[in-house]
Symmetry: D2
Subunit: 250 residues, 4 copies
């Protein structure tokens, strides 16, 4: 490992990260089985840098232990929502270790859909249906409340009319001509910042991201990203962040 | 496109991004040809949000025009270093348009190596040799100087001894046993923040990242990341940032 | 290009292939729009090898022309089924050129699903829904009938019970223990050989591949492949081919 | 698992396959360590189909056992060449089990290069250098000699002159214009069929594939594939097979 060769240089931030911890949680009721599959990234920041500075490993929490802990927490606490499980992970590392100062957890939920036939749901079989991925990001510092973002991503939609692209800014390097009507294909990413994570779950997704801010007081900020692909060219992206206007003072 | 449904919500940031613009630049000297292949992402921030708010497209610089502009600049200005070319792109968009307020350019240089045989270099043929990727990130706001990061990534190295991992913090979920000696495989990422980009080019890479700070006054900060892969398990990562200590005042 | 250096060596097979030709076909009816997106690989075999042997390019059909031809045929003939379109492509190259002796076309159909709300179908918008991919492979030699395979792939299903794996063949290297019940996750690939391609379209997919042979006289052979993934280990595969038994003679 | 519903259908081929078994073999000499990393796919065909037909698992060799066996053989036999190791795997499964009738092994060797500085080789450290991948395919039926193919793949080369593409066959769909000179980028795949695998190792690779046939009597057939990528379009491929001419009889 690199160690500073003299006293002019210092570490300002260090971390341990375990990527792609996979969990399949099965809850077996009398008739139906319920599954949640997720992929979690966990990042820990420690109080000291002595592992980097002197090779003293006594503070290191091996990423193998991080993985085992995530599996154990899934068993002990269950998984009702990925946001709740991410908060359970943060709380565990901040309380079980007295030298962890910050935990960041990113979880993607694998999209499974219960099989059904003629309106009857299968008791224990699901099909992978990646129309959209739910995700969350939870970050918590020691003695602070967790900051929760969640959202929806990788939704690909296409429409074959009602998408014009006219009157653009032209330059000497412009070759794109105006199109009164064209097909439009986009991949949607939307991320919300919320005070209470459970609220968001009720909302359907990307069509409503402005409504979210407008109607729900607990949501404070929304990022979105429309990536568009014409069939043969590299992609472009349109991105934005909307937030609530500060209220005028009386 | 989503538009705010009333006056309580506002856009705080919007952007247009063109990903993965590919450029192959060939400089033909009398005997030897010199090539630079690169992949560039360009992100523009505009002064107004009227495209998002009212559907007025007159300020939009289509990502197709962004791509054409990058190709034209490569022809007009040449490509000596990817950092210099990224700064050329920033400068062009900030001066040629009076409604662009910020440009961010990420460039990866494709690793080509001139063929040689018995010490003689081929005049015009190269082989793709992805031992390491050079990259840079340049961000510039209107009327400001560009901020330049560059670095080296995707270097995979492996050693078969002299890597111990002992005396770790143990928990009830620990299964990893101490290893006096083991093989160790890592993928290296190192990113420097520099004042003059051209300096960094002289350094070989990840082994010297602390030396960089120690010896070269223009380099102000270094990020690094060691991702390690045992052969059959998901990866973990060790990350850090080192910076120069503030000098004591006299 | 490599050329044989003397007379002891001969070319036995050569070919030109265009991979990943993307087509989006839109059929606009008065109210509804219908889309078919597909990805086609086309491989041509020519009568002579003079391009390889003497550098004479006069027989070469550039892959760029192959791509343009596929786009033109989509416009001229339309796309009702991917099997029919693949046969149109074979027929075109075998009749429009007198030096093409064999055409092979592989088509994957991109899975789009019309949006609907409260049972009402959207007139012109679709969502990408990759629960399963339909594909076909058509090969035709000059003056022969086309050979058509088609099938369904990349279906991921998971069940949480009723999957045992017991009484296996044990060796000194066996570590897997018997499991009375376990969860089981598999990715399904099934390929049919058919006389008339249109018949297969009526079948729902992987559960019925034996029924296909059993009930439908035109289907002559079925390949299948179950790839299974436990959550953290590299995958294994179970493969097989079933075909109709030769009828006993009277 | 699908089972035939009546007596009209039969299994003609079944198999078990273990994909992507990773092996890192370290041979420690007094001073230098030598590593071979490889990725192996193993496919077994059994004598009966009773596992498919009646659910009788007693013949199944779990893919987990296949993986363990590969690891054990690497330890017991060592790995001098990937071809030799693939033949060791085939021989083991055909002799240790009396119900295995065919084994097919595909091995890719991960390209590692010993670090060196000023001409001195490092004793135990290597860098991943994927300029080219060596691979082999060995297939053996019970009581038969193994059939060995090997080759080299994923070599990307680019030249900036001396590549014309003129006088092509033109059609109404042709848009590509003749190019007297152009840059040309290709990815090379070459596969040899050989009697004694060890011979091929002496040859440098794709430039000599015809020479191979011409000069070395044990090599009987060569496949090659040039995939070319212009920078922004989907790829095309030129493929061929050369073999030795039958000798004229005296």
């Amino acid at each position: 490992m690199a160690t500073p060769s003299n006293q002019n240089v210092e570490f300002v931030r260090t971390g341990y990260r375990k990527n792609a911890v996979k969990v399949l949680h099965i809850r077996r009721e009398v008739i139906h089985h319920h599954i949640t599959e997720l992929i979690a990234d966990i990042q820990l920041t420690l109080k000291t840098h002595k592992d980097y500075l002197t090779g003293d490993n006594s503070d290191i929490i091996p990423t193998d232990t991080i993985k085992n802990t995530v599996h154990a927490l899934a068993k002990l606490k269950g998984i009702k929502t990925i946001e709740g499980f991410a908060m359970d992970i943060c709380e565990h590392f901040l309380t079980a270790f007295n030298h962890v100062t910050r935990v960041r957890v990113n979880i993607d939920e694998v999209p499974w859909k219960r099989l059904e036939k003629n309106g009857v749901e299968h008791t224990h079989a699901s099909i992978h249906c990646p129309e959209a991925w739910q995700f969350c990001e939870v970050e918590q510092h020691l003695s602070m409340t967790p900051v929760v973002h969640n959202g929806i991503k990788d939704i690909k939609v296409l429409k074959t009319t009602l998408s014009g692209f006219e009157s653009l800014y032209g330059t000497i390097f412009t070759t794109l001509t105006d199109a009164k009507d064209r097909f439009f294909c986009t991949s949607v990413y939307a991320r919300w910042k919320t005070v209470k994570d459970t609220i968001i779950q009720k909302f359907a997704g990307p069509y409503d991201q402005v409504l979210v801010l407008d109607r729900i007081p607990q949501v404070t900020q929304t990022d979105f990203n429309f990536g568009y692909n014409s069939l043969d060219n590299p992609p472009g992206n349109i991105t934005g962040t909307v937030c609530r206007k500060p209220r005028a003072k009386m």
